[in-house]
Each structure stands twice: as structure tokens, then as C-alpha cells.
């Protein structure tokens, strides 16, 4: 049943999301050529008006890209709110599925769309990096200067840390995925609490709860996170002063893994609390 729930959730968001994605991709593609034009011709007086039009287009482009982030989040979490806490919620909870499957389906759906949107952003940035730099000597259309720089950076790092780089990349992906899950579960928790405490204006209450939770979390993570990182990094710097590169990389890899598991623990806690609220306390009357 989970697969079916996921399929319908996926379709519900995808219906509108792919239109936005196509628009953003086209804007980025055209915008990268416009940026190249502006870079090449900004110093020429006769082209000043066209450059101004180009810059305005680029501003619109940036707004589209930023807007796509907001639209993705709105689509995904509106689906969650509307499907569970509005009048449609009565139908949802009469389905012959466990509430935990409903919540899990919404969570997985959110994470998938947030991940897809991240890929979309990477492609858009890739267009700008590939197309915008003016053609160098010998280049016909594309100037790979940015990618060459990444390549040089990669070839500088690899001899130093060798195969550890692959592990760090995997761990970075795990951290990104766990962060996406954490963000999703936190927003779902806030929407659920907001819907529970307010009879009317549930969405406003949810936003208020999210603001409250985010403020507290930001304060705590900024203070504890910053100080903790400084203290732990300072201590490690001393403890690892005589260590080999392999030993240092091993320690860093373990530290990243511990951080990932911490994020998963917090995520699981919030998810189970939300699940508990949906199963035991939700009153749609």
C-alpha cells in the first residue's frame, strides 16, 4: 500500500512541478547565453541598452530560480497539509492503510522532490558555469575554464588523501539526505502541531509553530554548534598533530559518520512524535 500512496503523492506534486522545472531550465539556459553576451559587451557603449535588457533578464532568471525553491516546498507541504488536515483528511484517514504508512509516504515524497529540485539547481548552475564564460583561445563555443579548475582542485586533493575522497563524498551525500529528511520531518511536525492546537487558521498556526521551533533550534545550534565545533576542532588539532594523513582521514570519516547518525536520531524522534500525534491525538472535527 505504501507504494500506491507514494505513487499518488508523487503524481500529485509532479503535475505542477515539472512545468516549473521546464521553465526554470529554459530560463537558466537562455540566461547563461545572456550573461555571456553581457560579459562580452558591457564595455561597448553602443551595446549599453542591450546589456541593460540582458541584466534585467538575468534578474528575472535569478528570481525564477529562487522562486523554484519556494514553489517546490509549497507544493510538497501543501500536499501534506491539505491531504491530512483539511476536509480531504477525513477521506485520507478512512483509507485501509496504517497512518504510519500515510506519514511515511508523505515524508518520502517530500524528500524525493527536494532531492530532484537540488538536481535541477545543479543543472541550472551547470549551464551558467559551462556557457557563460567567454570563449577562450581555441574554444569554439564553450570555455571549460570552470570545470578545468575543478579538475585541477580534484587532482591536487587526490594525491593527498587518495581513496578517502570517495568515502568523504559518500558521507557528504548521506549528510545531505539526512538533512533533507530532518527538514521534512520538522516541517511536518510543525504543521501537525499547528493543526492540532488551532481549530481555525490551522495553516497560520503551523507557520507560527514553525517560526517558534526554528528560532529555538537556530539559537541552540548556532551557540552549541559553533562553540562545540571550535572546541572539538581545537582539541583534535592538538591530538592529531603527530598523526599521519590516513589516521587524520579516518578520524574525520568517523566524525562525519557520527554526525550523520545524530541527524538520523533527531529525525527519527521527530518523525515518531508526529506519527504518534497523527495516530492518537488528531481530531479533525
Amino acid at each position: 500500500m505504501l507504494k500506491k500512496l507514494l505513487k499518488y503523492d508523487f503524481k500529485a506534486v509532479g503535475r505542477l512541478w515539472w512545468i516549473m522545472a521546464v521553465v526554470v531550465l529554459c530560463m537558466s539556459f537562455v540566461g547563461s547565453f545572456v550573461l555571456r553576451f553581457v560579459i562580452d559587451n558591457i564595455d561597448i557603449e553602443s551595446m549599453a541598452f542591450l546589456c541593460l535588457i540582458g541584466i534585467l533578464f538575468l534578474i528575472v532568471c535569478i528570481f525564477c530560480i529562487v522562486g523554484s525553491v519556494i514553489i517546490t516546498y509549497v507544493l510538497v507541504f501543501w500536499r501534506f497539509y491539505h491531504h491530512l488536515f483539511s476536509d480531504e483528511g477525513y477521506l485520507t484517514f478512512t483509507l485501509p492503510v496504517k497512518r504510519r504508512d500515510i506519514l511515511l509516504s508523505k515524508t518520502l515524497n517530500s524528500v524525493i522532490w527536494i532531492s530532484l529540485h537540488t538536481v535541477l539547481l545543479v543543472v541550472c548552475v551547470g549551464f551558467f558555469l559551462l556557457i557563460s564564460p567567454p570563449a577562450g583561445e581555441g574554444d569554439v563555443i564553450f570555455n571549460f575554464v570552470v570545470f578545468d579548475t575543478f579538475g585541477e582542485l580534484f587532482s591536487l586533493i587526490t594525491p593527498e588523501i587518495g581513496g578517502w575522497l570517495a568515502l568523504f563524498v559518500i558521507e557528504a551525500i548521506l549528510i545531505l539526505v539526512s538533512t533533507a529528511f530532518f527538514t521534512t520531518c520538522l516541517i511536518q511536525f510543525c504543521i501537525t502541531v499547528g493543526a492540532m492546537i488551532a481549530k481555525k487558521l490551522k495553516l497560520l498556526a503551523a507557520i507560527g509553530v514553525y517560526y517558534l521551533v526554528n528560532t529555538v533550534l537556530s539559537g541552540v545550534t548556532q551557540i552549541c554548534g559553533t562553540l562545540g565545533t571550535i572546541f572539538i576542532a581545537a582539541g583534535l588539532e592538538v591530538l592529531l598533530s603527530g598523526a599521519t594523513v590516513n589516521q587524520c582521514c579516518g578520524v574525520v570519516a568517523l566524525a562525519l559518520l557520527i554526525f550523520t547518525v545524530m541527524m538520523v536520531t533527531f529525525t527519527a524522534t521527530i518523525h515518531f512524535i508526529t506519527q504518534g500525534m497523527l495516530e492518537r491525538r488528531l481530531n479533525l472535527a
Binding site: 504510519r100 581545537a234 582539541g235 592538538v238 547518525v261
Partner: protein, 328 residues
Amino acid sequence: MKTKIFKKLSLALALALIAAQLLMLTAFATEEPEWEMSVNGNYLYYGETAYEYYDGYYPLYPIPDEIYSFDQELFYGGTIEKSHVSDNGIVWVDFGGTDFYATKDAKAKLDAFMNGDVGGFLLSNENDVYFNAVLEQDTARSIIAAYDDGAETRRVSVKELEYAVTYNVLAVDKSETVAYIYGAIYLVGAEYCFVDYTKLGNQYFDADGNFSYRSGTVELEALGGALATEVKKTINGIEDNYPTYVWEDTVDDIYDMDIFWDDASAIAVFWVCYVLVGFIMPIPFIVVGLVFPRSKKKGYPKYWYILSIIAGIWLLLAAAFLAVILLI
């Protein structure tokens, strides 16, 4: 009833948070004063402190071990610097050249310094005062005294000295902030010879205050015996003594961990934080994950066990991290 209490508590917490954030409106950091220069360039002001332009008899060189450089640039691009080691009321503006400014008290001390109240001496390369070595005070004063005595001196044309290997004798003030070229030691033939610049008139110096080899004759003191040996020893010890720069925009950087504490404190704080994060923090999650499903009163579902499993993995990884650190 419970919902009402929950609502009231939530509202109270929200109001408390908003009030706490409003407190930030009252907080403000004390503003650092800015450097201001007078219209005629004779004065520099830093808050209440006034520094007057100092034009000594001899060109001065900034020579502290550490130079503190302010972030602010003057309108013509000069940056203001001072000694980071000694707070002596002397600052200088580095704009390619160097202009010195001093408070009233510092000016009096600089005047005394220019008139012979010297803190120490250095021997430096001819073209770079920062390649230097300390010239023992006894040696320097003996050389100067012998020059004043005139017993070992002879008069020579400055043109004879133009291409000789030259080492500057620098007089350094008591706060070890500024220096001027007191004289020079020349290698004439196989002999070290000293010329005291402070005994010479203005005609021996160019517009920048540097010794000129255009024309004129000077008294040259030949250094013999122990003095020559000491000087040779000092010359052999000349090395790079460029001052270290401390930049205003990084000195308050909290990520500059070297200014925080010594190694022992850093390790102690590390272990405290590590035990807290690695071993104490997962415990509540393990307890909750084990207790909730077993609670007959509340009857939480079995999936809470997953939380204790994940927190258990957290604890195991922390133990593995500890083992790795201890083995290194």
C-alpha cells in the same frame, strides 16, 4: 482542558521568545573609534587621543617584533600601524613611505631618543634595516666613545666609501619601536671602520635624510682588536628579522584558535565536549526508545525501539572514535 493548558503554554513561550528578541534592540556593541586626520595632515586623532606628526632629526624606521595594522585606510591609501608589543603612543602611516605620529609624551621620549637616550643598537645590511643582528651595547658604546676620542680616526673622502661593503649601525629606542641610522661600519680594505653620522652636518645627507656620497670628507675610525672581532661576530649573525604583522580584521576572529588557550586546555575542553556529545546525548534517546513501547499505561507502538537502535549505533560509533583517538 489539556488543549487549553497546552495553548496557554505555547502562547506564553511564544511571547517570551518575542520579548527575548526585542531585547536585542537594546544591545549594541561599543563602537570602535575611527582614525581622522587633520586638514593640514599634522595631526591624527583616534577617539580622544591626538597624535602629532613627528619630524625627527634623522629618518625613523619602525622596528618592533610585531606590527599591528589597523583595517582603516586613510583617504590617500595609507594604513596606520603601531607596535603590537608596546603601547607607547607612537603610530606611523604606511603609504609606501612612512610618516610618524606621536602623542605629547611619546614626542618628548622621541626627542630624548634623538638626542642620545638610546635603548640599544642593531647592525643591519646597508639596504634593508630588517636584516639585522643585535650589536652589544658595550661594543657599540666603545666604538662611539673611541670615535669621540679621535685617537684612531683619519679623515677620508666620502667617495672612498661609496662602494665599500657597508653595515648600518641602528640606534633603537627604549620601547624597541623605532630606530634611526646612528652611523655605519665600512669594510675598507680588510679593516672595519666606523663613521658616526650624528656628528655630521646636513650637507652630508640627501633630501630623504640618507647619507650622501656626493662630496665631502668624514672622520673614519678604524676598529681594531676586540671591537673588530665583536663586529665581525655580529655581522655573521645578521638574519631576517622582519616584523610579524597582526591585522585588525583577523585579531578578533574567534576561529583563530591560537589566541584561545594552551594545548592542555584545548585537549581538556575537547574531552568534555566529546563525552557530552558522544556518550551522554544518546542516552535519553536510548531510554525513551526502550521505555515507551514497554509502558503499559501509555501503550506506545513498537517502532520506538528503532530509536534506541539508532541511538545505540551513535554510542558505538562514539566508542570507536574514542578507541581510534587513543590508539593514535
